[in-house]
Symmetry: C2
Subunit: 174 residues, 2 copies
């Protein structure tokens, strides 16, 4: 049975929405998806807010109760019948995220057992046939096939295969 | 550069000593290393204490400030000059361990960056040339060479190569 490793943030968990919500809460302005097209969130905020915004990632609660990316639950569940699924997230950079990411996976992807959750940093340690991720840098030393999941920050990157949605993932792998 | 994945509990962190300390604290008797030879800790405690003892693993603080296994820091440091080192621990079974394991690694193995720490469950996800672990079950689907690190519970297991100490690891890999 082939194995698929799947990233969390911007692939199954909507981190950008959390950035938008917290930024609006703190500075009273809603950053739009159009604004962050082709960029990271931190690149479009006012320069005097940048440092504050980057700190969100290290703030208790940032990774708690994130919204689920559209169709990810249904498609990952269908994939799990044909492939071995691991969730592989670079959580090690953000220690405040550990327990929230774990609880989130248990709640929203209850069919993924704890044996198949991985918190890591450098994803070249992952032994899988496919890695679905929004950061192509993880593909460079990855031994399998990287599949780039479209996120505002990577729209101008040249990578094949690319998927724009979980429906695309279903078309590619199911 | 070849890559070595290294387990934590009973390989670099002394989990048995923690069991002994907590059991003595709770029941007034010191279990000895002789008693657990060839067994898991839970197998040698009084039957009426077994359930309580197993719960230690899920108790806040069990994984905090564990003693470091003899010579592990020095040898892993020397290994890190010749090999790429990842610490790969099946932490996912014990969510209360996450932050304590992370802090412990930062304190006792400061030369291992967060990019090279992995919390996982099924270690077949690990892509490495060697895995040093006290549980041979992790070697079954591991794609590299498993190296069994001697711990009381595995002394009667038949596995080659086996190492009895970090000096043995140095002899084998340096």
């Amino acid at each position: 049975m082939k194995r698929i490793a799947i990233d969390m943030d911007e692939v199954i968990a909507d981190a950008n929405l959390r950035f938008m919500d917290w930024y609006e809460r703190d500075f009273g302005r809603r950053i739009t998806l159009q604004e962050i097209h082709g960029k990271f969130f931190r690149e479009v905020v006012s320069p005097e807010h940048r440092e504050h915004t980057i700190k969100y990632l290290h703030t208790e609660g940032f990774f708690k109760d994130m919204a689920v990316i559209k169709d990810s639950q249904e498609v990952v569940y269908e994939l799990s019948k044909k492939y071995e699924i691991f969730i592989t997230t670079a959580a090690m950079e953000f220690p405040t995220s550990f327990i929230h990411k774990y609880e989130w996976l248990k709640q929203h992807f209850p069919f993924i057992p704890w044996t198949h959750m991985v918190f890591c940093g450098d994803k070249s340690i992952i032994h899988a046939d496919y890695l679905i991720d929004d950061h192509s840098r993880h593909f460079k030393r990855f031994s399998g096939q990287g599949i780039l999941f479209t996120s505002p920050h990577n729209v101008h990157e040249d990578w094949n295969p690319r998927v724009n949605s979980w429906k695309d993932v279903a078309d590619l792998l199911l």
